[in-house]
């Protein structure tokens, strides 16, 4: 399928290091549309929506941020810590939106399962259904995330 100039520009930004070291696409050779479609299917198959995932991720981040970098027990199944860095980062999509450089690290209390996300990850999932390309440092596997946080 032929890409629109806007989509080509977006993919160029996502594959570049303009916003984060190594970009958002990692080693994934699929187009951004293919990545979004595949992840949307994986999320739907488990009976969830990107919006519901983002809502739960926000809940966890909001609870963990009160720990000022220390680990906070979220519920009987998971704990989380939020690490903040200097500066902000903008959404690679062409619309207003910039986010604190804040990373939430989540760990299961009864297994070795872990996940981490940035505030930008939450936005990308909620507004764009984008979990990043495979091999990207902040790629989130939908199945693993759902298993951990619900």
């Amino acid at each position: 399928m032929k890409k629109s100039p806007q989509l080509e520009k977006l993919e160029e930004v996502l594959r570049s290091s303009k916003l984060v070291a190594g970009g958002f696409m990692g080693t994934d050779s699929r187009s951004v549309t293919e990545i979004i479609d595949a992840d949307a299917a994986a999320v739907a198959k488990l009976g969830y929506t990107p919006g519901r995932l983002a809502h739960r991720m926000k809940q966890i981040t909001d609870a963990a941020v009160k720990g000022l970098g220390t680990t906070v027990k979220i519920d009987d199944r998971i704990q989380a810590a939020v690490i903040e860095a200097k500066g902000s980062i903008v959404c690679p999509w062409p619309h207003p939106g910039h986010f604190h450089k804040r990373v939430t690290a989540v760990k299961s209390l009864d297994s070795a399962r872990t996940s981490r996300w940035s505030d930008l990850n939450i936005h990308l999932i909620e507004k764009h259904g984008f979990f990043e390309g495979k091999g990207s440092p902040y790629r989130i596997e939908p199945n693993d995330l759902i298993e951990l946080i619900f």
Binding site: S17, G22, L68, G69, A85, K86, S88, V90
Partner: protein, 358 residues
């Protein structure tokens, strides 16, 4: 084939037309109603000022992604662009604040910038030492080469250039507070925490080596110790140590007799650093107490100091808070939590100074 050829011809015509018709002549920039510069038109205001050696803080190299290069443009800038809107409040737009990297010089401009920005210089340095402070925090020392010395006010920050490297296709600047002894004007130190995926910190941790050439500009910032005699409470965490360490050197150099208490928060004992230096400040300064605060300990770890969140320790330990001035450096979450506690303790905003990581 015919359509492609016509397209190529049109593109060529547009390029030529752009060269002839969109070429802007020289424009005059009037700064603070006093200084006048004549610059080539067509470039961004940020580029024009940088070429004239006037450095406006910018962390993203002018790509409109950091929102730091704000200044007032009272004439000639045109309408606020959609790329600026996310970074400007309604009040800022009303008072003609713009992002210098997004404003094009197409006509004569009147701008207002803080006078202290005229003192900002570009520095070439050599990295002379890299020291691990914790598993993800390092101290970097840079010797000044050109110019050979730097003057700054303790508490200020510099911008460090991360050049193009394997994981970044563009140059970016990032801001770091200076942590060294300000009496040594031939070198500066910064303390940097690794941000996974961060362009500049990845460069500093994985690529920068002693002996490498480093480009900086600065100094910037209004975070500094006041001239009063009020007791001081410092509150910091992680790499927020940097400007506080610099202020402590300054207090020692100037023979300050102010009472000072430093609450430094860490997740675990292994996240504490420079504790020996803090002990030496306790011995050398007139009345200084270092209070390390640790949130968690692992089995087998010994820690006899304050436990819990750094803000809880401030609430428990701070003596006569109503007479104190507070100086904070850390994450937005830590600053917000500290502000809440300090307000509860009766310290008003006029006596709280902070360097928020934004």
């Amino acid at each position: 084939m015919v359509i492609s050829s016509i397209g190529a011809l049109l593109a060529l015509l547009l390029t030529v037309a752009d060269l002839f018709f969109a070429a802007y002549g020289p424009s005059e920039i009037t700064i603070n109603k006093e200084k006048k510069l004549t610059v080539p038109g067509g470039q961004t205001l940020l580029s024009a000022l940088t070429a004239e050696k006037i450095f406006i803080p910018s962390a993203c190299g002018g790509r409109g992604t950091c929102g730091l290069c704000k200044l007032r443009v009272t004439k000639g800038a045109g309408l606020v662009l959609p790329t600026e809107e996310p970074f400007l409040t309604h009040e800022e737009i009303e008072s003609n604040v713009r992002l210098a990297c997004q404003v094009k010089v197409r006509a004569d401009l009147d701008i207002e910038i803080p006078p202290e920005l005229f003192a900002i210089r570009r520095y070439t340095c050599t990295c002379t030492a890299i020291i691990d402070l914790t598993h993800d925090i390092r101290q970097f020392r840079f010797k000044m080469i050109e110019p050979e010395t730097i003057d700054y006010i303790p508490g200020q920050y510099i911008q460090l250039l991360a050049p193009v490297y394997e994981k970044s296709s563009e140059e970016v600047y990032r801001a770091y507070s200076m942590s060294g002894d300000p009496a040594d004007k031939t070198a500066i130190e910064v303390i940097i925490k690794l941000v996974p995926g961060g362009i500049c910190t990845t460069y500093c941790f994985e690529y920068l080596k002693p002996g490498d050439r480093v480009m900086l500009n600065g100094p910037y910032g209004r975070f500094r110790l006041s001239d009063s005699d009020a007791p001081v409470v410092f509150i910091a965490g992680g790499s927020g140590m940097a400007p506080i360490k610099c202020l402590l050197h300054h207090m020692k150099n100037t023979g300050s007799t102010r009472k000072a208490t430093y609450f430094f928060g860490a997740k675990t004992p292994r996240d504490l650093f420079l504790t020996d230096l803090m002990k030496s400040f306790e011995a050398e300064l007139h009345d200084f107490t270092f209070v390390p605060v640790v949130a968690e300990t692992r089995p087998g770890e010994n820690f006899s100091g304050e436990r819990g969140l750094v803000t809880e320790a401030v609430r428990r330990r701070l003596e006569k808070p109503e007479s104190c001035e507070a100086y904070l450096c850390g994450s937005p979450g830590m600053i917000d939590a500290a502000l809440e506690v300090l307000h509860e303790l009766g310290i008003d905003d006029g006596r709280i100074f902070y360097d928020k990581f934004e």
